[in-house]
Every structure is written in C-alpha cells, then in structure tokens.
C-alpha cells in the first residue's frame, strides 16, 4: 500500500523535483510511523497522496517556467518521449471528436464506477482489516464441540483465562451490540429517547485494540471491578459528531442508557468502530459490570443453576461474552489455544457440581483461535456471496460497455485507415502504430476510470442504503475508497483500456492494410463488419445472461415474499415495544400489558390484539433443549424447540388455526398452570402416531418427572417464525403471566384489523404514547412489511440485478444500433442499386432488420447457454426457482429481441429511404 502511494507521488511529481519530494515524503512517513504508529502514518500518506495529486498541476507549472535545474541531468530517454508523443497525439484526436469521446468515456465510467462501488462495499464488509495495529495478531476464541461450537464465555471464565494467560497473551471480552434507549443530559427524560447501539466491554477492550482516545480517556480495568458501580461510558466519534455536533465539552456530560445515567469519559478516534463489522456500529461502550444497570439481555446461553434475573457478570453459568486474545508476534496461536483449553477444563471441573452434564460437555470442548483482524461480522457471512454475485454482474456489464467502446474504436480506425496505411508504408513500426491505438483507448479508459471513481463514491452510498433497508437508516459502515478500492478501479480501468484498444490495434496493423491504399476497401470493410458483428453477438449474449439472472432473482423474491407463512399477513399490524428499558417490576409490567391490550382492543377497526415475547416473523428467538416420554433422539441429535410467550388472544389475532385441543383460556391463568400449545411440526415429530393432548414435556429428565412438567393442551398450525426459506421448526407456546415472563418482557404487540393495517399505525403509536410516554415503540409495520424485511437481501439483489440488466440492455442495444448503422452506411451504394433495379422499399427494410435479428438471435442463443451456466452456480441464492426457470428465460429473450429490433429499426428505416440516384453516384 505504501509502495503504491509512493509510486503515485513519483508519477505525478515533476521529474526535476522527484528525488527530494520522495525523500521528504519517506522521511515524514517514518517520523509519523514512529510517533503515531504505522496505521496513522499510512492514513497520513493516503491524504498526502491525494493532496500531491491535486496540487500536481500547479507544481508542474512552477517547474516548467523555471530557468535552471538544480540537478541538471539529461531529460529522458527516447522511449519515454515517444510515449508522451503518443499521449499528446491521442489527446488531440479525442478532443477533435468530443461526442465520440463523451460516449466512450461515460459508458466506461458507468461500468468502472459500478464495479468500484460494489467492490468498495465488498472491501468494507469482507476484505478490510480492522483499523488497529497488527490486526493479524488479534483473535477471537471458539469453543470447539462436535455438534455445537460456541463463542460465548461467562465473565468468571474470561477472568480465569485472563489471569492464566498473564505474560503470554492479552485477553479482553465484549458483549453483542444491543439497541438501547439513549438520552443526553437528561433531555427528554419523560420520553422514549433515541435508539442507539451499546456494547458492553471488559476494561482491557481498548487496550487490546491499542486504541487511544480522541478526547478524554478510554475504559481501563479499573472501570470494571464492581457490579453496577462504574457508570462511565466511552462514545464513538460518529455518535459524538451526530449527537454533540463535535462539541469538545461532550466529555463529562451525562448519557442516560436505558434509564441509568452514565458519565461520558472519552471519545474514540474517528477511524475506530469497534470489533464488529456491521451496518451500524456501537455508539457507546460501557463496562460489562454494568450489565444489569443497562438491562442488557440479549445473546446469552444459560445452564444449570443460572438465574438470568441476577446480574450476569458474577455467574459462571451465564455465557454472553465474546473472548478476544492478542497474541505476541513470537508466540504461536495454537500455544495460546492450548493454554485456554487447559483453563477451560479446570472451569469444567468446578461447574460439574452445579450442572454435571454441562460440566461434561465443557470438558469435551477444545479452544481454537480464529483470526479476528477483520472483525466479527454476521453481515459478512450473509452478504458476501451476494456481493460477489453483484461484482460478477457488474464486471459483465463492464465487458458489454467495453464492447461498445471497442466497436466505436474499430469504426474510427476504419475512418483513419488511409492515414494508417500511409504511415505503415512510410516505414512506421507496426508495434509503434498499435501502441498509438492502445494509448488512445487507454486515455479513454483512464477518463472513464476517473469519472467512474466519482460515480463510485456516490453509488456505494446507494448500495449501502439498499442493504440497510432504507435511505434514512443510520449507517456507520465506512465504505471509503481506500487503496484497495482505488487499486481495483485502476486495474479494471487498465484492463478495459487495453482490451478496447487491442481489437482495433490488431486489425489496423495487419498486412492486408496495404490493400486499402490500393483501394480494395470492399473486402476490408466486410472483415470489419464481421468483427463488429462478433462483438455485438457477444454483447447480446452477456446482456441476455444479465437479464436472465435478474429475472431469476426477481422471480425468487416473488416466491419468497408470497410464500405461505401461516400467519395472516394481510390483516395484522405489529409493533415492537421495548418494555425492558422502563425498569418496571414484573407486576407493573403486567398492569401495563393489560392497559395496552384493553385500549388497543377498544379502537375502531381493531378486531383483537395480543402481546408476545418474540411474535411472528421477527429475528429474535428463544430456543431450548427438552425431553419427552416415548421419543429417543438419534445419535448426535439435539432435541430443541423454539418457544414463545403469548397472551390469550394471540392465535386468533395473528390468524393461526387450532388443529386439535383448545386455545389458551381462563383455565390456564393460574400461577401453577403448566399448559402449553405446540405446533404441528412438534406434534408430528415427537408425538408421532399418538394424540399429543395431555402429553408432558420438560427441559430436563427431572423436570419431566416432577410437577413442573409442561402439559400439551392443544396443537396449532405451523407458521414460519423467522426463516422464510427453511422448513418450519418445532415451536411451543406458553401463556404469559406475572410469574412466567419475569426475565423477558413481552416485546411484540400484534393487532388484527378489519381494514388495512397500515391505516391504523398512526393511531396505534398515538395511543401507546398516551398510555406510557416513555415506552419505546419501534417498527410499527404490517406483517407483510415484516416479511419484506426478512427478505431484504433478496430485495436488494433483485433490485440491483434488475438495474444492471436494464443498463446492459441499453448498452447492448446501443452497440447493435451502431453496428447496423455502420453496416447500412457501408451498403448505401448496393442498397441504392437494388432500389434502382426495382426492389421494394419494404423489402429493403426487412433486409436490414433480418440482419439485426440474426445477430440478436445468435447472441440470445449463446446467452442462454451462458445464463444456464451462471444460474446453476447461483444454487442456494435462488429460492423456489430452478436455474432453468422458463419464465425468466422467455421474458429475458423477448425483452432483448424487442428492444434489439427497435434499435435496428432506425437504421433500417434510413436504409429504406435511400435516394437511388444519390446513393449510386456516391460510389
């Protein structure tokens, strides 16, 4: 990276000053690297390179007008000066034909810019390292287990590992990033506040990442000693700029997080975003000892005697932290992993007393270190395939637009045929001429590349906004154009430039060029026509490929979003309530639930309302291991079911039918009620061939045998709870009640409406604000929109590929238009003769159209083969649509042929309107 930057500085600095400018830059870089670290120095060099490039014209001007050179050396070799001549000659030619230049540059810019934009997102999500020193020594720890590897650790276990590794490696821990309600300086304390993302970290977190504050200080181990006793927070630079307008006095002010006031002690540096590569990074970091103060309650596994109501940091059986390790350069990661395993097994021995089976499980686990230098990212796992698909499509689009430019260049070379032939016969080197032509196309592509980078800076925001789901979502993912992106764009530009110039260069300098001097142009123009047509056929083929792929994605999205999810998606309005942040007692919460349900049910247009812990079609879930009588799991099979807590009206509200048994009712309200309702899948799988009503199940063998066991009172139809694509998992519903949902407040409100659910959303918000103004209410959306949210990635892909398909159609048909027009212009004398001999004008029209049709059909046929090959490799990206989906292919081909014929119609019309006399006399 540094070398590339220095290379660029070398390139844009006047030769007379190169040596000292470069020397000064290296000197400055080394000083910065010593005082601020390599990362900071690299970023400085990046800025410096941009500045040097921008001030290069002024620098050249100042040197050019100077009389004496301090290093009076001979200026340049013959080779270099010839290239300069080529470039100047090329620039002159391009300036002389501005329309040609404009069309060529802008179509290349579209292709290069588009791929650079996709690449910059890919770079940010998949390729780039965290902006921390020595990211390659930074690891996260996985507990390897044959069935179920885990990356969660309890805080006591992290502390044990930290102390065990003292002197060998550094250790830190962090929770997931959670959405919380934030107030600044107590402003708006009576309202819900702003949503922000907060991460809980150990005191070593910033140390291990080698971070320094922008202002104030970062968290240290001293900030993470005692439960709920460290109300200090570090905020991100981005949050500071957004919420404090970059005011330097933000340090010391109060940030209230889910109702608990914290003092802001510091601000991180602008480039730092934490350890998770996500669309929206953490806004604030607080000591993990503050877990129960901020009511953090996501992403945990609990075992045995764990009590989720008590603070988590003190409990060895509540696992909720990601463990990070920084391994020194001279130590092998495997050594550290082995040391962690030793310590983990020691923990297992002490846990066996509380939960023997879990202790055994821990004892069978082995720790491994995974490179975390690029950060942790769920986004990476879910989006990288999509991004590669988009990049591939963008590249094909670039090929199509390069085809157009190559076609234009071939036509231009034809116009310069005589000039070239004269130069060849006067003894100009073939290589020299070919180089001239390639330099010309390189100039075009460099222009396209420069403009493309401008397009990319804008288009990447568009792509990110599409990925984030809406243009207004706060996205802090930095997709900036770093060296990798610029290098990519440069490489693409150069390849496109050479590729565009190669064809005309080879053709222009072949032997038969001598023919054109002798006037044997007919043969030559036919050859040229063939080259142009071959190009068009290829463009058509690639265009069809893009159209088919776009069609497949659109079809797949349609299937996905119209799939029967079980729930009635047309008449249900959902809302997410963050009751947790209110700090109510379980009893108060139930009073609130009752008030909410009564008020909402009394609204006009509301049929019924219910509350649930997770609710329909949302991403959160509650998964538990369980056991029943009469079902023996196969070897390696884990018996697990999803669970949800619901109020009595839930099933009728969301539109789920009872299959057998009864819904929840007054009988089940008592605090000792063990009634559950299971879904069809659970009934079919675990109670096969029996009547499930009255059957018992429990989380453990002892629970199943005791009075605590759950009793099945009904079976409800299956529904897709969160995964639209996969099979329906088993699900058990419990009736909510003050004694049953102590840990997890009901977070989802469902309202069944008689009319359009969307029309009710404003009223619903208003009513909820009246009941409890501090209650955060989010995502007031019809179920239909929730389904669309789950399919966001498919929506992005369908939209983007459709846009790509549309652009490729436009470009390919422009190519077709150009080639047919050129063909017509070459055939003017022939066509005129035909007319003079009595040919019908309509026949002439058909003659030209037939020509175009042939190209389109041959191209489409080739395209079908390409499309099939591409579509079969898409595999699991498609849902409910095969790679040979006839509708996608037929639509794509029809579209291509129709638009192609329209493009060919104009030149054909011109051909049919030729005046025979003028045409013949032109010969």
């Amino acid at each position: 990276m540094t070398k590339v930057a220095l290379g660029i500085i070398w390139l844009v600095t006047p030769r007379a000053n190169r040596e000292w400018v470069l020397g000064d830059t290296v000197e400055q870089f080394d000083r910065r690297a010593q005082s601020e670290g390599t990362g900071a120095a690299r970023r400085w060099l990046f800025r410096e390179t941009v500045r040097v490039v921008l001030s290069a014209p002024g620098h050249y001007r100042s040197v050019r007008s100077r009389a004496h050179t301090p290093s009076a050396g001979p200026s340049g070799g013959g080779r270099m000066s010839t290239s300069w001549q080529d470039i100047r000659f090329g620039l002159r030619l391009l300036r002389r034909s501005p329309i040609f230049t404009f069309v060529a540059v802008s179509s290349l810019a579209l292709g290069i810019g588009g791929s650079a934009a996709v690449f910059s997102v890919l770079n940010a999500v998949v390729l780039r390292s965290l902006p921390i020193p020595e990211p390659d020594r930074f690891f996260s720890v996985t507990r390897q287990h044959p069935q179920e590897p885990s990356q969660r650790f309890s805080w006591p276990s992290v502390q044990g590992i930290r102390d065990h590794l003292t002197g060998q490696a550094e250790v830190a821990a962090a929770s997931s990033i959670a959405t919380m309600q934030l107030h600044i300086d107590g402003v708006g304390a009576g309202t819900a506040g702003e949503r922000g993302s907060v991460q809980l970290v150990s005191g070593e977190y910033f140390d291990i990442l080698r971070q320094r504050p922008l202002f104030g200080r970062l968290l240290t181990s001293a900030d993470n000693h005692t439960l709920d006793a460290h109300p200090v927070a570090v905020i991100s630079s981005g949050y500071w700029r957004r919420q404090f307008g970059g005011a330097p006095d933000a340090v010391g002010r109060t940030l209230t997080i889910n109702g608990t006031p914290f003092t802001i002690v510091g601000i991180t540096r602008p480039e730092f975003f934490g350890t998770n590569v996500v669309m929206r990074h953490a806004d604030a970091w607080v000591p993990l000892m503050m877990q129960s103060s901020v009511r953090y309650a996501t992403g945990a596994s609990s075992h045995g005697t764990a009590d989720m109501r008590r603070p988590w940091p003190s409990q060895p059986l509540v696992e909720w932290l990601t463990l990070f390790v920084r391994v020194p350069k001279d130590t092998a990661p495997s050594t550290i992993a082995a040391a962690i395993t030793v310590r983990h097994h020691a923990d297992a021995a002490s846990i066996r007393g509380d939960d023997p089976s879990y202790g055994d499980r821990m004892n069978s686990e082995r720790a491994t270190l995974d490179a975390a230098g690029r950060g942790l990212s769920g986004l990476r796992a879910s989006a990288s395939t999509t991004l590669y698909v988009l990049l591939a499509m963008m590249t094909i689009l670039l090929v199509i637009s390069s085809g157009n430019v190559a076609g234009l260049l071939v036509a231009r070379a034809a116009a310069r045929e005589r000039e070239i032939a004269v130069r060849l016969s006067l003894g100009a080197g073939r290589f020299r001429l070919a180089r001239q032509l390639i330099v010309e196309s390189l100039l075009l592509s460099l222009g396209g590349g420069a403009l493309g980078l401008v397009i990319a800076t804008w288009a990447r925001h568009l792509i990110v906004a599409l990925f984030a789901g809406s243009a207004s979502a706060i996205v802090t993912l930095d997709t900036g154009l770093d060296w990798r992106v610029i290098g990519f764009a440069l490489a693409v530009t150069l390849i496109a430039g050479v590729a565009c110039g190669l064809l005309p260069a080879i053709r222009a300098t072949r032997d038969h060029m001598a023919d054109s001097l002798k006037g044997r142009a007919a043969l030559e123009s036919r050859r040229r026509l063939f080259a142009g047509r071959a190009l068009v056929v290829l463009q058509m083929a690639f265009c069809l490929l893009l159209l088919v792929v776009a069609g497949l994605f659109v079809r797949s999205l349609r299937v996905l979003t119209t799939v029967d999810i079980g729930f009635d998606r047309q008449h249900v309005l959902g809302a997410r309530l963050d009751v947790r942040s209110l700090g109510y007692s379980p009893e108060d919460r139930h009073v609130l639930y009752q008030r909410v349900l009564e008020r909402v049910q009394s609204l006009p247009g509301v049929v019924s309302a219910s509350l649930s812990l997770n609710g329909p079609v949302v991403l959160s879930s509650w998964l538990s291991g369980f056991t029943v009588d009469g079902y023996t799991p196969r070897a390696g099979e884990r018996m697990q079911t999803n669970e949800d807590l619901v109020t009595e009206q839930y099933f009728s509200t969301v539109g789920l039918r009872m299959v057998t048994g009864r819904p929840f009712g007054p009988l089940d309200r008592g605090p000792d009620s063990r009634s559950t309702i299971i879904n069809e899948t659970m009934a079919r799988k675990y109670f096969a061939g029996q009547d499930p009503i009255g059957k018992r199940w429990g989380y453990s063998e002892s629970m199943l045998r005791g009075p605590e066991a759950f009793v099945v009172i009904g079976v409800v139809e299956d529904a897709k709870y969160r995964d639209l694509k996969g099979a329906v998992p088993s699900m058990a519903y419990h009736l909510s009640g003050p004694s049953r949902d102590v840990n997890d407040p009901l977070g989802d409100l469902e309202v069944r409406t008689s009319g359009s659910p969307l029309a009710l959303s404003g009223t619903l918000r208003h009513v909820l604000a009246q009941i409890e103004p501090r209650l955060p209410v989010n995502d007031v959306l019809p179920l239909d929109a929730r389904v669309a949210r789950l399919a966001w990635q498919e929506i992005v892909v369908a939209r983007l590929t459709s846009i790509f398909g549309g652009i490729s159609l436009l470009l390919a048909c422009l190519g077709l238009y150009g080639t047919i027009s050129y063909g017509v212009s070459q055939r003017v004398p022939e066509l005129g003769l035909r007319l003079a001999l009595g040919a019908d004008r309509r026949r002439l029209l058909w003659l030209v159209m037939r020509d175009a049709l042939l190209l389109v059909i041959v191209g489409s046929a080739l395209g079908v083969v390409l499309a099939y090959a591409a579509a079969s490799s898409l595999g699991n990206q498609l849902y409910g649509v095969g790679p040979l989906d006839p509708i996608a292919y037929v639509t794509a081909a029809t579209l291509l042929i129709t638009v192609g014929l329209v493009a060919a119609y104009l030149p054909a019309l011109r051909a049919s309107r030729i005046e025979p006399m003028t045409a013949i006399s032109r010969n």
Binding site: W20, V21, L22, G23, D24, V26, R51, H59, S62, P70
Partner: protein, 108 residues
C-alpha cells in the same frame, strides 16, 4: 522591491529564516504545519519554493545522499539577500499596520 509576497510565500520565507542551514522540503513543511497549524502537501511547499527561487528570493542546492531517506538527496533552501529584504519589508508593513492593535486582534 518586487511584487508583494503572498501569505503562503511569507510563511515559507519565515520558515527558511527560522531553520537556517536545516532548511529543506520536509523541515519547511513541518515548521509550517507545527506553527501555522495547517496540513499541507509537500508539492505545495515545492511549488512555492520554485516560484520564490524564480523571483530570486530563495537559493537552492542539492545535498549528499542520506541513508534514512532511502539514499535520496535533499534539496536545501536559503533566503537570498533579495528574499531577506522582501521578508523584512513584509514584516515591517505587517508590524506597522498592527501596532497598538495586539489586544484587539487577540480578542477577535
């Protein structure tokens, strides 16, 4: 003496005065960055130095190769007598204009 000095030209000349025999591209740049508190590019420094040399206000010569810069040589600069006069004139003009205004300028 000659046309008036631009602001950046003045900064560069003052830096040369301060640095004396240590003045070359990187030190001039550091001096201005540290004291005038602005980030600038090395080519901006050379552009100005080139101009000043053409106006006869600055002289330059090339030093010996140094290992810490990858064997690259430095180009050293110093004020010419003409440059020293121009800088003095500029300073006197500035000082004359600001006499008695120091408090108010600071309060701005």
């Amino acid at each position: 003496v000659s046309s008036a000095l631009g602001e950046f030209e003045q900064l560069v000349l003052i830096a040369l005065l301060r640095l004396g025999p240590d003045a070359y591209g990187a030190t001039v740049r550091r001096e201005i960055e540290a004291r005038a508190r602005r980030e600038l590019s090395i080519s901006a420094v050379y552009t100005t130095l080139e101009r000043l040399e053409q106006k006869g206000l600055v002289r330059s010569w090339v030093g010996d190769p140094t290992p810490e810069r990858g064997g690259r040589r430095r180009r050293h600069f110093e004020l010419s007598p003409l440059g020293a006069r121009a800088l003095k004139a500029a300073y006197q003009a500035f000082a004359g204009m600001t006499t008695g205004l120091e408090q108010r300028l600071k309060a701005l």
